[in-house]
């Protein structure tokens, strides 16, 4: 029962933060959407920032069940799993369903400077997502060029999701998201084409080794996730 109340508050806060940002959301609106009194909220959370932190922590906890496992189940082809994940992410953006839309990136950008825990949770979130994507990219084996740094590419998928989400929020439409995904598909098509053409390191690597393809292992410790 207490658990239900806490979850209801977090569902409401997650949805409102996702739609309006931290500052744009009044605690009174969270209470109204969750159907609870302020005493219940302050029983669980010391204040609005603590509530935001709990929302981000829960998103990170739920990432596996909400996005990663369903994406893996939705496609058997390892590269299509990447786009199944993208599709699930998009559904969260579009529906604004409680718990579906993910305010992690926005809350981290707004709050990390004064609440470092939120920045760390958001980084952990990105790292977990990228680690799973990296596993899919590894499973794609020779369908990607031999020289591709799959860890970097996995991190880039998350960068694109974040940027596309920001643009879609500003535009109030999923159209920018879809356009960005089209270009991400282009990148993957090119990688597959390059792998088919020559099962050796990707074109251009010799010209721009440092910036183009990183091969220095696991600099951010992503494998720890």
């Amino acid at each position: 029962m207490a658990r239900d109340t806490r979850d209801r508050i977090l569902d409401a806060a997650s949805r409102l933060f996702s739609e309006r940002g931290f500052d744009g959301t009044a605690v009174a609106e969270v209470l109204a959407l969750a159907g609870v009194r302020s005493g219940s909220l302050y029983h669980f959370f010391a204040g609005k920032e603590a509530l935001a932190e709990a929302v981000v922590a829960r998103c990170a906890d739920r990432l596996r069940e909400a996005l990663l496992d369903p994406a893996e189940a939705a496609a058997s082809d390892p590269l299509e799993r990447v786009f199944a994940l993208v599709g699930l992410w998009r559904r969260g953006l579009e529906n604004g369903a409680p718990g579906a839309a993910d305010p992690t990136g926005l809350l981290a950008a707004e709050l990390a400077a004064r609440r470092p825990t939120i920045g760390r949770l958001a980084e952990g979130y990105g790292a977990r997502l990228a680690t799973r994507v990296r596993g899919w990219l590894d499973a794609a084996g020779p369908r990607l060029p031999a020289g591709t740094d799959r860890g970097e590419l996995a991190g880039f998928v998350f960068t694109v999701l974040e940027g596309a989400t920001m643009q879609s929020r500003a535009a109030g439409s999923v159209e920018p998201f879809d356009r960005a995904v089209g270009q991400l598909r282009l990148l993957f098509s090119l990688l597959e084409g390059a792998a088919r053409a020559a099962p050796v390191p990707v074109t251009g690597k010799a010209e721009q080794p440092a910036a183009t393809v990183r091969t220095d292992g696991d600099p951010a410790g992503w494998r720890a996730w």
Copy 2:
């Protein structure tokens, strides 16, 4: 003199919003950094939201002189202009110099839902940036595959800048930005490689026509910029 005061306030607000977001910035901090009294601020701006709107409007106004023209001047090669722009953007992130760091994306994400003008200004900003980049991509001619939608690719450069900026803010480091730029370079290397290999539509187009390469002209009216 009045103009100076207004600019000083906007410089301070731009820097603080960029570092801490809208909510994380107190009007008193803007006043302290700008070295003005609250009367001066409220002489020019009706309130904190109006101040944020003016910051975003000024970023859009200054985009040409602050980023686009310098990027064009920094490189004669049209594709290297894209990365000159990326480098200038990065400098803003790194320095936190007044007026250099650009809070447009963050303010739009935070405020667009309740202050639509900010969303529209941010979209205009992205559209102007993408239009200039598109011109560079057009100038690259046959160095990019014939089937590439250069408008979509230009918009994607902005998506990556936004996503990488968000991640760098959350991490408090430019490292995520640099990693994303490495992958953007990879995309361009692959495009150039594909163009060299076959001066015809890019690999994979036939398999995923709608998502991979759009050829439906100018759906968002970007050419108007």
